[in-house]
Symmetry: C2
Subunit: 461 residues, 2 copies
């Protein structure tokens, strides 16, 4: 637990102006936590600078005094990366949300880190362009956080992750040094690309204050289909087939019948297809409807899928998406224990068979609900508490179940965190994906950039 | 100049087997240089390990003895990054060229670093897939070098640079530590992405020995068009228009009439279009020919271009490409001094106007030939020796001209090296793109990973 003196906080208030610094208990409670809701918030102060120079000033003072800092965006993370539970100073970027003009020729947009994702989408859309990173948290997550966590989402299969859509960055180092790498260049081979260090580093190496985003055209209207499929192996065979289809895939989402059961019960909706099967695939594509219908019929004829439907209009498309998007909410009452893993695509079916065997052998009565972005090898795995088991008992067992799960992930060459990051929540399990030499190198890079360990200390490792 | 004892080289030969180590003068001459041909080759020895374990052994011994090592691929670089001119040990990866099976579901391919780019293309094409990085040097450049230099090429506008097509890496650190990051995952958010450090670092942070490449479908036949355009500003206006065209752009290449003059003279070919103008655009797209013709006609009607033609078959397409691809060879007899810069796309025209003014004012009689990948902001700039000037005089002035050029690049927010890297050739000018704090951080990262400075020492900074 850091001890930050009142005198230090007063000093920050004098440097920045008192309206930029808060120790109000309500603020500390709200800004000390993220969507994990597990770690009790306990920051010492909240600072909300308005400029990169002010961010630099805050860090310079914290660095001098050895005060730990938690960089803070929209706090929608699911791994505790933005949690301040040990007396840290929370450095919120929310007052830095300026959006520059859209450069329609170069297709770039310079923004401040506190800009909300949805505002960026709206701003770019006025010029027929978009930043193709999209998440359920779009209404509150911020660009700086998206970059610091290398955010993914449902359209990674089409567009890739955040890393591919960042041309420039300004980051402030632990000692207050401003690193202006905010060139808006598609190509720049002048030595190690330092921008990449900050993307996905969860605020442990520097505070991102500005970025130049790469934009692309707003996609045309998409076609949405839903299929029922007998097994995860069949889902993969169908995926290979879909990749050869007469269209461009923008989402290939999969969920199990068990997920669907929860959605139907909680949201009081009917089954989407006549023929129920163990898995469902939501396929969103860009293509001509007539060719899609022919393709869909050929899939049914060849029995690659048990049943399938193509949405006839955007309302129907929304209804199909609702099955997929309703899963998280519908599982919530069942006390789900969540994981977000990635596997090589070809290994998904074998991994899943091993996982089912594990549950049968060691966690009888536990229900498992999986859904995810199969085209990227990304599965969201939810263990559900058996109804007869107490919450306390269940929680006591989840750590062991996680270790068994991550050992399987490791054996199949996967990652224990596909999208959500490590933060505090996955920190004990980092070794299941990163080898000893890798962790040693992560530490060496951290020590080189933040020798006093003031930036988001205790996160990742 | 490093002094490497005969005893040390004998020791390497004992560890690896004598057939893996050479001090033959012909070998040293060949393996000590790259395509720059400026720096006299002078390595102490050539080692050609066959496995990652052997690479580790070489580095462990060199690290212990403080012997500098130059990692070596196909040596087709244009910045001196693979030059060994100071008694270094050249570590060639050419005996590690195994290609794994193509994973057609996950669309990945594991290869060893010494695999030649063209061999990778051929191997993937058997399954209808490709690794979409393509360069003129494809017949000899190696995957490890492509990755270590973050290679670009003419289709970056469609596919991005090498960085986007590498899923996994194995790299050996300076002290011999093997860093196995060769997972084949599209998504892996488990802390700082260490792979990114090695991509584009020109062998200064580690030796890449293996990689898992991300593949994509072989593109269908492309349509090729050539246009004449009045000015670089018009080229940019045309580019903005082409981006809204009914097709997917796979190349948008530009060259000046002065480049074309050299090609026509050297290759004895006719002018490609009736109406000559200051600039030409080669546009390669994926789209339906009928819609292209309509689009092309509308461009001519609106006078966005002076003239234009659409290749009717693949032979004609090749002939149009030959104008663009013949430039480098056609300029060679005129003693060109080459640069490879990048600018924000919107700044290209203003930058070029400033560059022409600079030549008029300070370098009268110098000819300038520009061509490049305008859609990525990437210009290859060639200064040609005035015929009345001696080679010696010209060479004596190019350093000053480079500095004036790079000052312009800096003023317009550009990069002094878009694709080629820094190596030895651009090292004196790094500060025109990288700020003091950035260079300090490059040094800090280098010191953390290679504290004895044995990996490609003297390159980049």
């Amino acid at each position: 637990m850091a001890t930050v003196s009142a005198a230090f906080i007063d000093g920050l208030a004098r440097s920045l102006g008192s309206s930029q610094v808060s120790t109000d208990p309500g603020d500390l409670e709200a800004y000390g936590r993220d969507w994990t809701r597990i770690f009790p918030p306990a920051p010492s102060a909240l600072v909300r600078p308005r400029t990169t120079a002010e961010v630099s000033e805050v860090l310079r003072e914290c660095h001098r005094a050895g005060v730990p800092v938690v960089p803070s965006g929209g706090r929608t993370g699911l791994a505790g990366g933005a949690v301040a539970s040990r007396g840290e100073v929370v450095l919120s970027l929310e007052r830095m949300r300026t959006l520059g003009p859209v450069d329609t020729v170069g297709r770039t947009l310079a923004v401040e880190a506190g800009a909300v994702l949805e505002a960026v989408h709206r701003h770019a859309a006025e010029q027929g362009l978009t930043w193709p990173i999209d998440l359920a948290a779009r209404g509150s997550c911020q660009i700086g956080g998206n970059i610091a966590t290398n955010a993914g989402g449902v359209r990674v299969i089409r567009y890739g992750s955040t890393r591919q859509w960042v041309l420039g960055l300004t980051a402030v180092l632990a000692d207050g040094t401003v690193l202006d790498m905010n060139r808006r260049l598609e190509k720049d081979n002048t030595g190690t690309d330092l921008r990449q260090l900050f993307i996905g580093s969860e605020g442990t190496l520097g505070v991102i204050t500005q970025a130049t985003l790469k934009l692309c055209p707003l996609p045309p209207e998409q076609q949405v289909m839903l299929f029922s499929v007998g097994s995860l192996a069949d889902v993969l065979a169908f995926f290979a087939e879909a990749r050869r289809g007469p269209f461009v895939i923008s989402a290939f989402e999969c969920f199990s019948q068990r997920c669907l059961d929860h959605v139907m019960r909680e949201q009081r909706v009917e089954a989407p297809l006549g023929a129920a099967r163990e898995f469902y695939v939501l396929l969103e594509v860009e293509g001509e409807p007539e060719r899609l219908i022919t393709w869909l019929e050929s899939m049914l004829e060849r029995s690659l899928v048990a049943d399938g439907t193509l949405a006839q209009d955007s309302q129907q498309a929304q209804r199909l998406w609702a099955y997929r998007e309703g899963i998280t909410e519908s599982l919530a009452p069942s006390f789900p224990h969540k994981n977000d893993v990635a596997l090589p695509v070809h290994a998904l079916a074998a991994f899943y068979a091993d996982l089912e065997a594990l549950l049968r052998q060691r966690y009888q009565g536990w229900d498992i609900c999986v859904f995810g972005h199969v085209g990227d090898g990304n599965l969201h795995i939810n263990f559900l508490k058996p109804s007869a088991m107490s919450v306390q008992d269940f929680v006591a067992h989840t750590s062991g179940a996680d270790q068994a799960l991550f050992a399987l992930v490791q054996r199949h060459g996967g990652s224990i965190s596909a999208e959500h990051g490590i933060g505090l929540l996955k920190k004990p399990y980092l070794k299941y994906t990163r080898s000893e030499p890798e962790i040693a190198m992560l530490r060496a890079v951290k020590a080189a950039l933040d020798p006093r360990n003031i930036l988001n200390p205790g996160k990742i490792f």
